[in-house]
């Protein structure tokens, strides 16, 4: 949705930095996977420099930050990704 927030940015406001950067990327990947679990989309970390989204049809998209991640994940999911959706919030509450 916002190319400026992603494509032109060499560093995103939410990028993990410093000593905890690698751990941060791993944790983010795991959190996003849980969020996307009900949407048929999954995420993997690509060498600590990018993320890769996959769907069940074999499609994959490389993204470099969380903002572009949501836009691409929504495209792959084929439906809106809204963190305020009560059904999603309830599913996350039960997520283990």
């Amino acid at each position: 949705m916002c190319p400026l927030c992603g494509a032109l940015l060499t560093e995103h406001w939410a990028d993990p930095e410093g000593a905890g950067a690698r751990r941060g990327r791993v944790l983010r990947t795991r959190i996003v996977r849980r969020v996307l679990a009900g949407f048929g989309v999954t995420l993997s970390d690509w060498g600590g420099t990018a993320y890769v989204l996959h769907d069940g049809k074999g499609r994959a998209e490389v993204v470099h930050d969380l903002t572009t991640l949501w836009a691409e994940a929504e495209r792959l999911a084929g439906r809106p990704l809204d963190p305020l959706d009560p059904a999603l919030v309830e599913a996350l509450r039960r997520s283990t």
Partner: protein
């Protein structure tokens, strides 16, 4: 990054006193080395050496996302200032003031400053100042959503012409502005008479204290723009929060006019969060909390979002963060 040039953004509706304010500021000794970018050359301080005119020229991106529009004119002028200063063609300047047009949405200006690669490394947004006419302000807020947004994203609100308005009307307008933007101090200013430091040092002084953070409240006259705060008792996992906020801004960014807060991420000091729609300042880590209350508190200024829905969602993501962290015993940083 500490030597970035501060940029003050002056916004406000047509006729609300932006030019008067800027002209008076430029006459102040502390503002001597200031470059000014204005829309209408000739009205403001024409004898000032560093006044430049910019015609609002936006680069509309394919996404059509208005708040992330790149202001091409501003980018070019600010880059040009850097180049000319480096070549010695301009006298040194220590600060830039940008005046927007009265109908302008300030978000694209902030987006340009915070995301354009050259600008973000050379300039730092110092403060967003919005002028509001005490006489006409209430009617303007009723009729022009742009003016509500200008007030909502401001760091400081300048109430002009208060001496010409009835005291009761001024008080009512101030109450309304506080409902739209409880983060911004309101300064009554006549003929631009205010010290620059009172206006342009706002960014670090308006961090939300829990006691003053607003609860959900109705604001029926302000195009459904209202402010609310959330306070969290437990430390917040920063990674879970980053996942949550980027998703929220992806989904609801046009309705999140402002988000600002202090976050307890388990460090000695808080993380300062500050965003306008899709545009978020790089979070800053403070060495210490400003007061004894060390709970995370975040103020949202939104168009139509419900506090309870935002809080429930944030808490669900915070729980995910705790679960992921507890399971991450295998992850070590090298």
């Amino acid at each position: 990054m500490t030597d970035r040039i501060p940029v003050a953004l002056v916004t406000g509706f047509l006729g609300s006193g932006k030019t008067t304010l800027i002209s008076a500021l430029l006459a102040h000794p502390a503002m001597g080395e200031t470059a000014v970018l204005v829309n209408e050359l000739g009205e403001v301080a024409i004898d000032h050496h560093l006044v430049r005119q910019v015609d609002e020229r936006t680069v509309v991106l394919g996404s059509g996302c208005i708040c992330c529009t790149l202001r091409g004119d501003l980018r070019d002028e600010l880059r040009d200032l850097l180049g000319r200063r480096a070549r010695g063609e301009l006298e040194p300047f220590r600060r830039v003031v940008v005046e927007t047009t009265g109908l302008a949405d300030p978000a694209p200006v902030l987006s340009t400053l915070l995301t354009e690669p050259v600008l973000r490394h050379n300039y730092a947004v110092e403060a967003v100042v919005a002028t509001v006419d005490a006489v006409a302000g209430a009617a303007t807020l009723d009729r022009h959503p742009e003016s509500v947004k200008q007030a909502a994203v401001a760091d400081t609100l300048v109430l002009t012409k208060a001496d010409a308005a009835a005291p009761a009307a001024v008080a009512a307008l101030e109450a309304r502005l506080r409902a739209v933007n409880p983060l911004a101090p309101i300064r009554r200013v006549a003929f631009g008479a205010i010290a620059p430091d009172d206006l342009l040092r706002a960014r670090d002084h308006d961090l939300p204290a829990t006691a003053s953070a607003p609860q959900a409240r109705a604001s029926p006259h302000a195009h459904d723009v209202h402010a609310f705060s959330v306070v969290l008792d437990e430390p917040l996992d920063w990674d879970a929060f980053a996942v949550w906020l980027t998703m929220l801004l992806h989904s609801r960014g046009l309705d999140v006019l402002r988000v600002k807060g202090l976050l307890d991420v388990g460090e000695p000091g808080p993380v300062v969060l500050d965003g306008v729609q899709h545009v978020v300042h790089r979070p800053r880590h403070l060495a210490a909390w400003p007061d004894d209350d060390r709970r995370s508190r975040i103020v949202f200024i939104t168009r139509g979002l419900e506090r309870e829905a935002v809080l429930a969602s944030l808490q669900a993501f915070a729980r995910l963060g705790r679960v992921a962290t507890a399971a991450a015993t295998d992850v070590v940083d090298r």
